[in-house]
Amino acid sequence: MISIQGLSKEFAVSGGNVAAIKGLDLEVAEGEFFVIVGASGSGKTTLLRCVAGLELPDKGTIRIAGQVVSSDNPPTSVPSQQRRLGMVFQSYAVWPHLTVYENVALPLAEGAQRVPRREVASRAREALRLVQLEEVADRSATLLSGGQQQRVALARAIAVNPRILLMDEPLSNLDARLREEVRGKIRELAKQLGATVLYVTHDQVEAMAMADRIALMQAGEFLQVGSPTELYRDPARVEVAEFFGLMNWLKGRVVQPGLAETPIGPLRFKGAAAPAGEVLLGFRPECVAILESASHAESNSFPAALRSSMFLGDQLVYHAAVGEQLFAGKCRTVAACSGGRLQLYIDPDDVMLFSAGKRVDQETAAARPSAAVRAAG
């Protein structure tokens, strides 16, 4: 549905030009909920605005449903108005001088794809019904709460029957509790409408909760594109692993396939990669298991001293030291890690191996069945 090739965009700042996007390629399938996630300044909003036609890219081609909407060769730029998009802005951009209904109806009545006059009302009402704002339709838009304004913006975006729904951090101005509630609703609504969504956020939890596929962006480039489980369980790079959650890191050296020598002793890992030189071994806190004190003999098992713990209700986060090395761990029960001495176990399946910042024990992403299932659904 969206096809991007070699997209580049620079901005003039004091003291030269800064590249916001560096030669990106991207394919988004019809009906897919695609999330671009990254820290601020990573270029994700610029990418979205290029698709929207609000920025003119320096290089590259953007196609929407097969139609070239932006290209440097030959120079083409279809105006925003004619790209048939819906967009939810970070500030919501709800027009403050109009009522809720008028906000939704204005693009229908006076937009590029002129809707017949008698259909305007029914389509605007339908969009408001979908976001459950029918009863405040005639209220001034500025009198609404942040969450309601956000839904007005959403209704306005879906009312025009867009080919693509673009969302630029639509939830970042909502409070935490509301954010969780709304993100489920947006995904539900998008799936119900069968919409193709390009969604930008800086919040990795939001990205994982909503996306069919995620692209992690940094400094104008995609670090990795894949399903949420792929990016979390099989990060291709150190930065990706760290972005999506806590990691425990160990420096080491591979002595034979599947075994590395580390400061805490030999550590087994899955896969047959054996890169020379120093490697980085990583595993997530929830992959650290606490063993019954009896089973000492196993490999990948280390005695540790508990340093601190935090009870968060659904889980307990603790820090334990193996020798000089501090590890974060998560477990469900308080009892499991009470007492000062622990025996930790790290499953070789859960250990990821990185060399020079890149993953070296990689399984192919497609091998993960879960990703394919989610994308299809």
């Binding site: 901005f11 003039a12 004091s14 929207a52 036609g53 609000l54 920025e55 003119l56 320096d58 730029s77 105006p79 925003s80 108005q81 004619q82 790209r83 048939r84 998009l85 819906g86 967009m87 802005f89 970070q90 500030s91 919501y92 951009a93 027009w95 403050p96 001088h97 204005l106 693009p107 006076e110 937009g111 590029a112 794809q113 913006a153 306005r156 975006a157 025009v160 673009l166």
Partner: protein, 579 residues
């Protein structure tokens, strides 16, 4: 053209592809200003018939003015005048601003109303009124004092640099008020509270904390007023020209409009004008520096602090006496005397005898053809100029606020230029342009459109700043949301931008219209027969010695002005009046 307007990225990504329509609108007034300055420089270096092969390029004009003792006399007059103006304006405006912003004085709305009115009532009213009050020959105050004490000559002479400075100062007190009131409002009161808590007395705080903090703001106001004072024309013209007391601006006027059989000395005018541009540029850059250094004192605070107000108690009466005296002396008394003069056959000190002679004779004998011509020209200007100002200023503002190109800084700076250039300079520049460059190819000389062009460029700076402020507050995503959801650029402007900008547009329109309506300097320099404006009619009667007739026309003009002022004030209460 169609391409340019419809292609959104061109509109937004100015760096990549300029939208010619918008750029043209933004650059046109700036181009005019640069041309006016260039023409003045060009003329100042010539003798002979400018712009023809017989013209000689020379420094003679500069040599002439530098060796002219009369010009040094004029400079001295201007210095005294400007100094007096600044003192009077500040000593009146600053205390009233302090009263209004930092004390518990009652009736603050009324104070603001009086001072806004002070901005809107033309300076020539005050000048005419004060001629009737304190002119050595006809001023009633002088006559009364002479009679009362048996003096041999008039004790007060308003037609001196100090006297004119006093009148100009009264007229600019409102400007001083607005500038310093803003400063007091922005001042962080916790700084004074800190001094109070740590045991300092009221006087010590005023002396050691409040005043030093206010100093940059006051200095900025001083420079601003000096910049106006050095080049102001209308009050020195009304009070001084008839009595042969000249300032720089009126000196230029007699060089262009020599009395008797003399020929206009345009080369000299160009040289003096160039000198004034340099002075104005220096003052303006100093003003900018002071404003920037003032930000040094700005302590970041949370939103909406409430200034600690000083309890006045019975001293409020003294405060109001001061304000009342100011209103009476600067506005009420002059207006009363103008009315009186308009209704009496000749000017004599008010007496019972004179009251019996009240009549409408000046209205009957008025040259109605002239007055109506003036009214028609002024009406044309009021209809055309504010709209053009809004159009150009909007184009500039939009590019300055919305574009991300580095060129926008240059644009912003250029839009500020007319602020630095006195109206006299713009008028002279336009005169020289029409006479020696455009000549018969574009016959603008003597046309109301020449005046219109100068008015437009002169008001761009103010309008641009007001619009910048408003546009900054309208999130750009409001426009982008319209673009993305399919609204064309024009529809976006009409359905989204215009309704949101409406209050600012209206108040800028009204303010510009009022200033155009009362403007005298440009109108006098550029006005000949056909393009005389309403205020210029007053001026021509006055200059020819018909003071009572001039007063009668002034009454007519006020009758039209009053509803506009009421509209402005009524509207100003509902939206922020740009200053």
């Amino acid at each position: 053209m169609k391409q340019a307007v419809l292609r959104l990225p061109a509109f937004i990504g100015w760096r990549n592809q300029a939208s010619p329509a918008l750029m043209g609108l933004a650059l046109a007034p700036i181009g005019v200003i640069l041309v006016l300055v260039a023409v003045m420089l060009w003329v100042s270096f010539q003798r002979g018939l400018f712009g023809t092969p017989t013209a000689i390029y020379t420094l003679e004009n500069y040599q002439t003015i530098l060796s002219d003792p009369f010009l040094y006399r004029v400079l001295w007059n201007t210095a005294i005048f400007t100094l007096t103006t600044t003192c009077v304006a500040l000593l009146t405006g600053l205390p009233i601003a302090w009263l209004a912003e930092r004390t518990t004085i009652p009736g603050k709305t009324l104070i603001y109303a009086i001072m806004t009115l002070g901005l809107l009532i033309p300076g020539i009213y005050t000048a005419m009124g004060w001629t009737f009050i304190a002119h050595p020959r006809i001023g009633f105050l002088n006559r009364w004092l002479v009679d009362l004490f048996g003096l041999e000559s008039a004790p007060i002479n308003i037609a001196t640099p100090i006297g004119m400075g006093f009148v100009q100062g009264l007229s600019l007190a409102a400007v001083a008020f607005i500038l310093t009131a803003q400063m007091f409002r922005a001042m962080n009161p916790t700084l004074e509270e800190a001094a109070q808590v740590h045991g300092m007395s009221f006087v010590t705080i005023l002396h050691r904390v409040t005043f030093p903090l206010a100093l940059p703001g006051i200095l900025a106001a001083v420079i601003y007023i000096v910049t106006i004072g050095v080049a102001t024309f209308d009050i020195p013209a009304i009070l001084g020209l008839g009595n042969r007391v000249y300032m720089l601006s009126t000196y230029i006027y007699i060089k262009v409009h020599p009395q008797g059989s003399g020929l206009p000395e345009y080369g000299i005018t160009g040289a003096v004008g160039t000198f004034m541009i340099v002075v104005a540029a220096l003052l303006t850059s100093w003003y900018g520096q002071v404003l920037r250094s003032g930000h040094r004192f700005e302590v970041v605070t949370g939103k909406g602090y409430r200034p600690a107000l000083i309890k006045l108690g019975r001293w409020a009466v003294v405060g109001w006496l001061f304000i009342g005296l100011y209103a009476f002396v600067s506005k009420l008394l002059p207006l009363l005397l103008i009315t009186y003069a308009a209704l009496t056959p000749y000017f004599a000190p008010p007496s019972l005898e004179m009251m019996r002679q009240l009549s409408l004779v000046h209205f009957y004998n008025m040259d109605w053809e002239l007055v109506l011509r003036g009214a028609r020209n002024t009406a044309t200007l009021v209809l055309v100029v504010p709209l053009l100002v809004l159009l150009f200023a909007f184009a500039i503002s939009w590019l300055v606020v919305r574009s991300r190109s580095r060129a926008r800084y240059a644009l912003e700076f250029c839009a500020f230029l007319p602020q630095a250039l006195p109206e006299v300079i713009l008028a002279i520049g336009a005169l020289l342009l029409a006479l020696f460059v455009l000549r018969e190819f574009v016959p603008l000389y003597g046309s109301v459109w020449l005046i219109a062009i100068v008015y437009v460029v002169a008001r761009i700076a103010f309008a641009t700043r007001a619009l910048n402020g408003s546009l900054l507050q309208i999130h750009r995503e409001l426009e982008e949301a319209a673009f993305v959801s399919g609204l064309s650029t024009l529809r976006t402007a009409r359905r989204v931008l215009l309704p949101l900008l409406w209050p600012t547009l209206l108040s800028v329109w009204l303010w510009t219209a009022l200033l155009v309506y009362r403007e005298l300097t440009v109108a006098v320099f550029l006005g000949i027969h056909d393009n005389i404006t309403f205020p210029a009619v007053i001026w021509s009667y006055w200059y020819a010695g018909g003071m009572n007739k001039a007063s009668a026309v002034t009454l007519l003009m006020t009758a039209v002005l009053a509803p506009l002022i009421v509209a402005f004030w009524w509207f100003g209460r509902r939206s922020q009046v740009p200053t």
